[in-house]
Chain length 295, copies 2
């Protein structure tokens, strides 16, 4: 299959759904709406929603049933980026090649835009009117998403990440940070696709493991790119992890070992879903694509 | 009935449920957990969860079915307070007689504690394992809550509030701010109790109007207390609205007119629920209590 074509098509599907969920004429104060839209449409790869769609495709789900949750994963991702970039946290000026949200709209609006994007994600995920699946399934997907991105998940990982800056940390700690800060949402994105797509328990279990592995792989590769990538391609400050003395896989495991870990994770992830038919090809290709990406 | 007794009993019920939802041994990084617990247990009156419980009582609902959503309303309220107090927003040092969250834990942890409390609220509201009500009803309550507190609701109101500081504003604007910033969550708290309690459409409609009216009344009375209350009783800086040139009812409508508006709203709210039997007495008393409160 043509994975580049699939990714491009799905990105367009996601972009249209994002546009529908927060149109320019939405009843939202202008500055807030502009701030939310600025970061939502800053040129993200839409990796999480595409993973949700690909997982739904793998279990034979309908596109319209996964779309609201898929879009929600991008809103959650965007909210965490806006808040992570704030001066009190990572204090970043550049994101995806553009000024960070608070640099354009001010810290106050940036904080509230992040808050409102998280809320909008749950508003979408709990909307029964947009999907044709049992209410219990919608609830489970929303509940799993909330469990993944909160104090024991994404936010918890970000806290330990910040507190680890400049410290010599153990391998377990960097694994904890990456699994939570990045891995949980990616895993939940895959699961939400599998759930709303009506996957069997066996399929759900395999996709869960798949999501967990590529979630961690993604962050390890991100660490590697922070050192070996180019600023032009990545659209953000290169070496900023080093500068901030961030806990990264290369700094704790070394560069070669980190590359091996990422490659092994992707191999294992592929094996987890080997019993799926060709409907899982997009997922397989995305996993491979992770390893070869340069931004 | 003894409303003081009822409020105290329900506060205890809510406090126990809050404790259960984020116990001291929860798997959360220590600083984050301490920050979340600090503001959750800073001595709030638990007005929103008590309103949810009282609304559930009014329609004959079971206590255990409303409790998760009731607790969620307090988490949402607490998250908005933590973020509103931040230096980039209201820059407040004192809240409920104690240092504000960021003054104790730093801005980074305060931002993330607020984020995680919002997430935890939705985690609780979407948890099917804790309640015995149809999944579709749980979903509706969670969806309405999300619709109430986001960019078109609570957060939107806060944005317009900030942007109105120091400006001469129209009556419609202060009404917009108060209805959204404070009213929407109070109304949603009442509705969530009515929904999870299994209220009829007629009951839901009346409780909706009731919630909307007391929600606005609450903020108008808050404005009045900011001028006429005492710092000792309120536990926060008195006159801080004036100092920040905030949009308030007294500043736009005048003090006497504001008192009349609040009183009329409470009267109208009571009339809305006049057809309920004595099971709605707690709601009636809480509405009256609003008018007489001094903090």
């Amino acid at each position: 299959m043509d994975i580049e074509r699939y990714l491009k098509d799905m990105q367009e599907v996601v972009n249209r759904a994002l546009e529908d969920s927060i149109p320019e004429n939405a009843d939202i104060p202008e500055s807030l709406k502009a701030s939310m839209r600025y970061s939502l449409f800053a040129g993200g790869k839409r990796l999480r929603p595409v993973l949700a769609i690909a997982a739904s495709d793998a279990v034979g789900g309908k596109r319209e049933n996964v779309l609201p949750s898929a879009v929600a994963t991008e809103m959650i991702h965007t909210y965490t980026l806006i808040h992570d970039d704030l001066p009190a946290l990572d204090n970043d000026n550049l994101r995806r090649g553009k000024k960070t949200n608070h640099k354009v709209f001010g810290e106050d609006i940036a904080i509230m835009a992040g808050d409102a994007l998280q809320t909008l994600a749950f508003q979408l995920m709990t909307d029964q009117s947009k999907v044709d699946i049992p209410a219990g399934t919608i609830l489970q997907a929303a509940h799993e998403m909330a469990s993944a991105i909160g104090a024991s998940g994404t936010v918890g990982g970000q806290v330990v990440d910040l507190e680890s800056e400049g410290k010599k940390i153990a391998k377990e700690t960097v694994q904890y940070i990456h699994t939570r800060k990045t891995g949980e949402l990616i895993k939940a994105s895959v699961r939400t696709g599998a759930l709303t797509g009506g996957g069997s328990p066996k399929e759900l279990g395999a996709l869960s493991n798949f999501g967990e592995m590529i979630g961690l792989a993604f962050q390890v590769i991100d660490d590697i790119l922070d050192i070996e990538g180019s600023e032009e391609t990545l659209g953000k400050d290169i070496g900023s992890d080093l500068e901030k003395e961030k806990a990264t896989y290369p700094s704790v495991f070394g560069m070669e070992e980190s590359k091996k870990i990422a490659s092994d994770l992707v191999d294992s992830a592929e094996k987890e879903i080997s019993f799926f038919d060709e409907k899982a090809d997009p997922l397989r290709h995305i996993a491979r694509y992770f390893l070869s990406r340069t931004n």
